[in-house]
Structures are given as structure tokens and as C-alpha cells.
Amino acid sequence: MGPDWNEEVEAWRKAFDRSFALPATLGSRAVEKCRLLVVEVAGRRCAFDVATLGGLLSIPRIVPVPSPLPEFLGIVSARGVLTPVYSLAALLGWEHANEVTHKLILCPSPENLALATGTVLGYEERAPEELMNFQDTDPAGRAIVAAMAMADGTRIPILGLGQLVRYLGARIRAAKESR
């Protein structure tokens, strides 16, 4: 037997109506909790703090541009601005040969770049105490993980977008220097 759709729809309608009946002060709770955007990258799950993101877009047509960096995919038009796109899987050094990217994570200003990622798995809220600090570097020696969170009994890394931008900048500079 499947779910009772009438009850499901009715509960949905009530929740929707109740959201308009709640007082606006309840919105402070959103500030108190950490909102996580869970994505899939090269078959692995990882998350970003929504407050650190510049935006989320479906991937438009990427115009390839030659680059010494293998993680550089090309440029796109994001909100009317030419934006370079990098593969998050390649940037993380994860296996990405057959990686299919679906979304672009925009970095906040003044950084003008976007990271191509896989499927958006969900949107979760975590209390700050539920997050585990992770100040150490990853096995590759990169300091890109801001914290760790438990999801479905496993730990998923919460990537720091600023650390990634810095790491990418270091990669770009190294590439320029090598030329």
C-alpha cells in the first residue's frame, strides 16, 4: 500500500498555511542554525555552508577555454557576468573522469569564479554544536575542510569555500610561475 496521498496533501497544505501564521521572530532561528547544502562530488558527499556561498545555478553552456589547469573547464555567463568555471572534483583531486556536473556554486564577491559540482543531494540545517571542528589539513595537505557533520551515520566534510578559493589562487599562481 502506498502512502495516503490525501492525508499527505492535507498535511502539506496545513504546514504551508502555518508557515504564514508563525510570527516573524521565529526567523531568528535560521540565524542560529547552520544551513548546509549537501552535494555529490565524484560519488562522494560533501557540504557547503550556505552562508558562505555566492549563489547556486544550474550549469549553463560552458565555453571551453585553453588553460594549464586541468580543473579549469571554461567560462559561463552567470547573472550577466563572464565567470570562469572550475571542476570541484578535479580541484579536490578526486576521481572525476566520468564526473557529470549539474550545478554551479558561485563564490561570493569579490571573487568571480564558479565551481562545477554534481547533484544537489539536499539542504540541511545543523545546530552549531552538531558540527565538529576540523582545522587540520586533508590527506593531500590542503586546508579546505572547515568542519565535519554527521549525516545518516557517516561523517561528511563541510568544505570551506574561502579555503578552496585560496587553494585555487595558489594553484593559479603556481601555474603562472611555472610558465
Binding site: 502506498g2 502512502p3 499527505e8 502539506w12 504546514a15 504551508f16 508557515s19 508563525l22 516573524a24 521565529l26 526567523g27 531568528s28 535560521a30 540565524v31 544551513r35 547544502l37 550556505v50 552562508a51 556561498l53 555566492g54 549563489g55 547556486l56 545555478l57 544550474s58 550545478k103 561570493p108 544537489v120 539536499g122 539542504y123
Partner: protein, 489 residues
């Protein structure tokens, strides 16, 4: 090589010879008697009457002379009438004699007598007329002496000669009869003696033949009697066994009769059942025809259902497409909500209220996405069900086709059944009729067997009688053999 004749041939020859002798004797006797009779008849029918007529002729001549004498003496006319009567009788005698005589001499003598009588009569008439004319007695006597007497003498002599001649004939006839009689006696005695001799010879030969042949026959009869006894004994034994077998056959035929009656009754019931079966088969045939119509209708309905199911599949595909669009919209909405959340977070304290709305929109989008996922699952299930239903319906359609074909075959089978049941009904009726005839035949056979059994019993009794007769015949043959041996010396 001596000829050996059979007893029958010997007897036939003996009896034939004896019969020939008897016939010869009879023939000789008959011939002798016939010659005697002829001679006697000739004496009695010719010579004796002629003698008598000759005597009457002489007598009438004497009468005529006497009456003429009266007329001469008296002249009385009363004597003329007797004279003329005597003359008439004399004429009649002459005519009879003329008709009887067979020889020329006899006829000549009769003619001479006739002439002499006429001459005498003429002389008498002349003298009588003269007497009546007054002629005297003397003259009359003279006329008589001169004219009538010589004529009378001539007539008398000739009449006497005729009488003597006829008497001689009678005497000769008597002698001839005596001679014929002696010849007959002698012939009969001779033939009889010959027959006696022949009979004796035949008796001797017959005795020898009978002794020889009957002796052999008696010997053969002994052998045959022995064989007949053996055969009669065996026949009695066989007939006894046959009587037992006939009794058993009678019992079997009685059982067969009961069985035939049961078969007849069963055949009648089978005929009734076959008739009812024919009715049921006809009803079944009509039902099958209606089933064919129903199957055709079901096939149309199934085709319609298949069309509807295919249409439902297309529509579910369209719903799937719409769901994709809704999913896309929910995803876009979710992205927008996330972006709104991001923007609200960037707006600081002033973006909190907007963050709440964005959060609700995101949740709404999540719900929509969740529902869309569920609906997709449902749509997939529907499409799977539709596909399954279509396949099942196509299978049902094929099953309906098979059913229609099988119903058609059933209809054909029912028609065959109807036809065969009709044939069975006819055959059953024929069986019923044949069984009744068989029952009648068995009854007749039973009667015949009873008669045969009775005949066998009678034949058995006859065989017993035959055996007894054979024994008696054996004794008889033994006695006959002893008799022949004793007779034969």
C-alpha cells in the same frame, strides 16, 4: 470261367424262366382252347344252325306237301293258307341258309333247292288251279303223279342231301373239336412237364446259389453286425455325450436369451439416452454458437481495452513529461530558494524575514520534488502496470483468439458430435431392432435345441434299440449260419 450270378440275378432268371414257362403254357393252352373254341363255335354257329335250318326246311317241305295234299283232296281253299304259310316258311329257311352257307357248293345246293321248290311250287299252283277249275280226282291224282310228285321227290332229295351234308359238317366239326381238345391237353401237359423240369433245375441251381451266396452274406452280416454293434455302442455313447452337450447348450442358450433380452433393454435405454444426447448436443451446439458470438464480442472488447490501455500508456508518458517539467520547476524553485537564503544571509539582520520566506519556498520546493519523485514512481508503476496490462491484454487477446479458434473447433466437434450422435442413434435403433430379432432367433434356437435334445434322446433310445437289434441280428445270423451249414451238409 464259370459265370457267377448274384442271388437276385439267379432268382430273377429262375422266376423269369418259370414265368416264361407259365406264359408259354398259358399261351399254348389259350391257343389250344381258342382252336377248340373256334371249332366248337363253327360247329355251333354254322353247322348246327344249318343242320337245324335244313331240318326245318325238310319239315316245312313236308308241311307244304301235306297242305297241298289237302287242297288236292278236298279242293277246299282253307288248306291254301297253311300251304302258303308253309311255302313262306320254306322260303325263309332257304334265305337263311343262303345267308349262312359260305362255300360255293353250299350256295349251289341252296340255289338248286330254291329252284326245285319254285318248280314244285309252280306245279302245285298249276294243279290247284286245275282242281279248282273242276278237274276230277282221278285226273288230279294223275296230275299229281305226273307233275308234282317228281318235282316233290327232287326237292326232297335235295333237301335230304342238304341235311345229310350239314349233319356231316356237324360230325366233322365235332371231330375237329375233339382233335383240338386233345391237342390242347397234350400241349398243356408238355409245356407243364417242361416247366416242371425247368423249375426243378432252377430250384437245384437256386439252392446251390442261395447256399453259397447267403452263406457269404451271412458271414458278411456277422461282420457287419459286429461292426454295427460297435458303431451302435459308440453312437449311444456319443449320443449320450451329445445329449449332455445339448443340455449345456440349452442352458447357455437360456442365458444367451436372458443376455439378449438385457441387451435389447439396454439398447432401448441407450437409444433413449442417445436421443437425449442428440438433443443435448444440439443444445450444446447452439450454446457454442452463442459462445462464438460472445468470444467475438470479447475479442472486440479486448481490442478496445488494448487501445485504451495503449492510450493510457501514452497519457502516462505525457504525465511523466509534465512531471519532469514539474520536477524541473521544483528544482529551479529549490535553487531559487537556496539563492534567496544565500541572499538573505548576505543581507544580515534585514534579510531574516526574507530568509524565512525563502526557507518555506525551499521546503515547498523540496516537498514538490519529493512528491514529484513519488508521482514519478507511481507513474512508472502505472506505466509498468499499463505495459503489463497491455501485455496481459495482448495475451488475453491471443487467448481469446485461441479461445475463438477452440470454440470454433468445439463447434465443429459439436457438429460432428451431433452427426455422430445421430449416427449412433440410428445404429442403436438398428442394434435394438437386431437384438430383438436376435432374441426372437435365440428363442427359436432354444426351441430348436429343445427339439434337437428331444431328438437326441430319441436317437439315443433308437441307438440302444439298434444295439439290441444288432445283438438280435448277430444271433439271427449265427442261427442262419448254423441252418445253412446244416442244410448244406
Amino acid at each position: 470261367m464259370a459265370r457267377r450270378w448274384t442271388l437276385a440275378t439267379t432268382l430273377n432268371l429262375s422266376f423269369g424262366a418259370l414265368l416264361g414257362c407259365v406264359v408259354l403254357s398259358i399261351a399254348v393252352g389259350v391257343m389250344a382252347l381258342r382252336s377248340v373254341a373256334v371249332a366248337n363255335d363253327r360247329v355251333l354257329t354254322v353247322h348246327v344252325p344249318n343242320q337245324l335250318d335244313a331240318e326245318r326246311l325238310a319239315k316245312h317241305g313236308e308241311t307244304l306237301v301235306a297242305e297241298a295234299r289237302g287242297v288236292f283232296l278236298t279242293g277246299d281253299s282253307s288248306f291254301e293258307s297253311p300251304m302258303r304259310e308253309a311255302s313262306g316258311e320254306f322260303r325263309k329257311d332257304i334265305e337263311r341258309l343262303r345267308s349262312r352257307v359260305r362255300t360255293e357248293e353250299g350256295r349251289r345246293i341252296v340255289d338248286a333247292i330254291d329252284v326245285a321248290e319254285r318248280d314244285f311250287q309252280g306245279a302245285l299252283e298249276e294243279v290247284i288251279r286245275e282242281r279248282r277249275g273242276g278237274m276230277g280226282m282221278e285226273e288230279t291224282l294223275k296230275a299229281i303223279r305226273t307233275r308234282t310228285l317228281p318235282r316233290r321227290m327232287v326237292l326232297a332229295n335235295q333237301a335230304r342231301g342238304l341235311l345229310e351234308r350239314e349233319e356231316g359238317f356237324v360230325m366233322a366239326g365235332q371231330r375237329e373239336v375233339e382233335s383240338a381238345t386233345r391237342f390242347a391237353l397234350w400241349s398243356f401237359a408238355s409245356v407243364g412237364a417242361f416247366a416242371l423240369l425247368l423249375g426243378g433245375a432252377m430250384a437245384v441251381r437256386l439252392k446251390s446259389s442261395v447256399t453259397r451266396q447267403i452263406g457269404g452274406a451271412v458271414q458278411s452280416m456277422k461282420t457287419s453286425t459286429t461292426e454295427l454293434q460297435t458303431a451302435a455302442t459308440e453312437q449311444a455313447s456319443v449320443l449320450k455325450e451329445q445329449a449332455t452337450a445339448m443340455s449345456e447348450i440349452g442352458t447357455t442358450v437360456t442365458e444367451l436369451l436372458a443376455t439378449s433380452r438385457q441387451i435389447a433393454e439396454s439398447s432401448q435405454r441407450v437409444a433413449t439416452v442417445a436421443s437425449e444426447t442428440a438433443g443435448a448436443a444440439n443444445h450444446g451446439n447452439q450454446t457454442v454458437i452463442r459462445a462464438q458470438e460472445s468470444v467475438t464480442s470479447i475479442r472486440s472488447q479486448v481490442d478496445l481495452i488494448v487501445g485504451h490501455m495503449l492510450d493510457l500508456g501514452k497519457k502516462s508518458q505525457q504525465i511523466g513529461g509534465i512531471l519532469e517539467l514539474i520536477n524541473e520547476l521544483s528544482e529551479q524553485t529549490n535553487i531559487l530558494a537556496i539563492n534567496a537564503t544565500i541572499e538573505a544571509a548576505g543581507a544580515g539582520e534585514s534579510g531574516r524575514r526574507f530568509a524565512v520566506v525563502a526557507d518555506e519556498i525551499r521546503r515547498l520546493a523540496d516537498r514538490v520534488a519529493s512528491f514529484t519523485k513519488d508521482i514519478r514512481v507511481l507513474i512508472e508503476e502505472i506505466r509498468s502496470s499499463v505495459n503489463t496490462t497491455v501485455m496481459a491484454t495482448e495475451g488475453g487477446s491471443k487467448a481469446v483468439d485461441n479461445g475463438a479458434r477452440q470454440v470454433g473447433e468445439v463447434a465443429t466437434a459439436f457438429q460432428d458430435i451431433v452427426r455422430l450422435v445421430g449416427t449412433t442413434t440410428d445404429a442403436t435403433r438398428e442394434i435394438e431392432l437386431s437384438t430383438k430379432q436376435q432374441t426372437t432367433g435365440v428363442e427359436q434356437v432354444k426351441i430348436a435345441i429343445g427339439e434337437v435334445a428331444q431328438g437326441t434322446k430319441e436317437t439315443q433310445a433308437a441307438a440302444t434299440q439298434t444295439l439290441q437289434t444288432a445283438r438280435q441280428l448277430a444271433e439271427t445270423s449265427r442261427d442262419l449260419s448254423e441252418l445253412i451249414e446244416t442244410t448244406g451238409g
